[in-house]
């Protein structure tokens, strides 16, 4: 990532946002995918701090995305600072452990760009964003069941009178299909525990 001293930034967050518990996740190649993890309950204050501070400001939120690791879920905020002298970029991560009703605070009031991104994250992972101005699904139909990008997701049988997987058009012996079903089953048992 560009022009970010991670340790210094994590320290700054910890000093200014109490309970944020910012930690640096370094990778082998420290210049590429390092990130900062913070507490899910403090995400709004952390993003607010990152936006408003004088030392290392970030003036844009580029993406909000979800990841399902089965044991936990993660929301990643990719922040950036567009500036001719010191442009920078940062991956900010929060961990959500509750699979039944996961929720984090919305940052739409800070960055309007988060509106659709958070809706997509809700649509695909079922992570609720508190205080979101328009908390609907964005891609799937409103009456769709389940959250498609979760690892233990199984699609519904019938939608609106249409069969989602008509038996006469499926090849259940397909190797990839069996592998995929095994992966889903494994994720389901893992998520149940």
């Amino acid at each position: 990532m560009l022009n970010v001293d991670f340790n210094k930034l994590a320290e700054l967050i910890n000093q200014n946002v109490s309970g944020a518990n910012a930690t640096v996740n370094t990778t082998e190649d420290a210049k590429t995918d390092s990130s900062i993890s913070v507490e899910a309950s403090k995400i709004f204050s952390v993003v607010e701090f990152l936006k408003t501070n004088k030392e290392m400001p970030f003036n844009a939120l580029q993406a909000v995305s979800g990841v399902d690791y089965v044991e936990w879920m993660e929301v990643c905020y990719i922040m950036a600072h567009f500036d001719l002298t010191t442009p920078r970029e940062l991956i900010l991560k929060v961990k959500v452990t509750d699979r039944v009703s996961p929720a984090v605070d919305s940052v739409v009031s800070l960055y309007p760009a988060a509106n659709f991104q958070e809706r997509e994250c809700y649509d695909m992972f079922g992570i609720k964003f508190n205080n979101h101005p328009d908390p609907r699904r964005i891609l799937c139909p409103d009456d769709w069941e389940g959250f498609p990008l979760r690892k233990d997701y199984v699609a519904q049988k019938v939608y609106n009178g249409m069969e989602v997987f008509p038996d006469h058009k499926m090849n259940y012996d397909d190797r990839e299909f069996i592998v995929r079903q095994d992966m889903i089953k494994k994720a389901q048992t893992q998520a149940a525990n």
Partner: protein, 160 residues
Amino acid sequence: MQDGVVLSTVDEFLNWGRKNSLWPMTFGLACCAIEMMATGASKYDLERFGCGAFMATPRRSDLMIVAGTVTLKMATRVKVLYEQMAEPKYVISMGSCANKGGPYWQHGYHVLKGVDEVVPVDVYVPGCPPRPEALIEGVMTLQKKIANERLLRNKWVKHA
């Protein structure tokens, strides 16, 4: 007198008129629509076959070219559009996605596995996406099909 008379059957005459003025609906769903646009444009010139007049409303069109992936969300809309078209109406299913779900047929939770699940299809055009020549062949196949219709004993005309 001899030069001024053309003999034909009513069926043949009506079918001739019908097959040479097929008006498709302006209706593209995915990348196949790009090929459909190319087919309609000057290089492949669908107008040669009398079906280049893409209508912007289902009420004025005879042919629906389902060009692209039909998602479950879209499928209900496709059905409504088909029902809005005036009879006689025909459907060409263009490309693998509309034929049978395409790359989404085994794992795609959001894709209808073939548009024939919701509307009756006359001609299937395979390909991903089909080249303009393939779509033209599909249109010509449909024209042959229309040419062989027995209009006066047809399902469209009641009490014939």
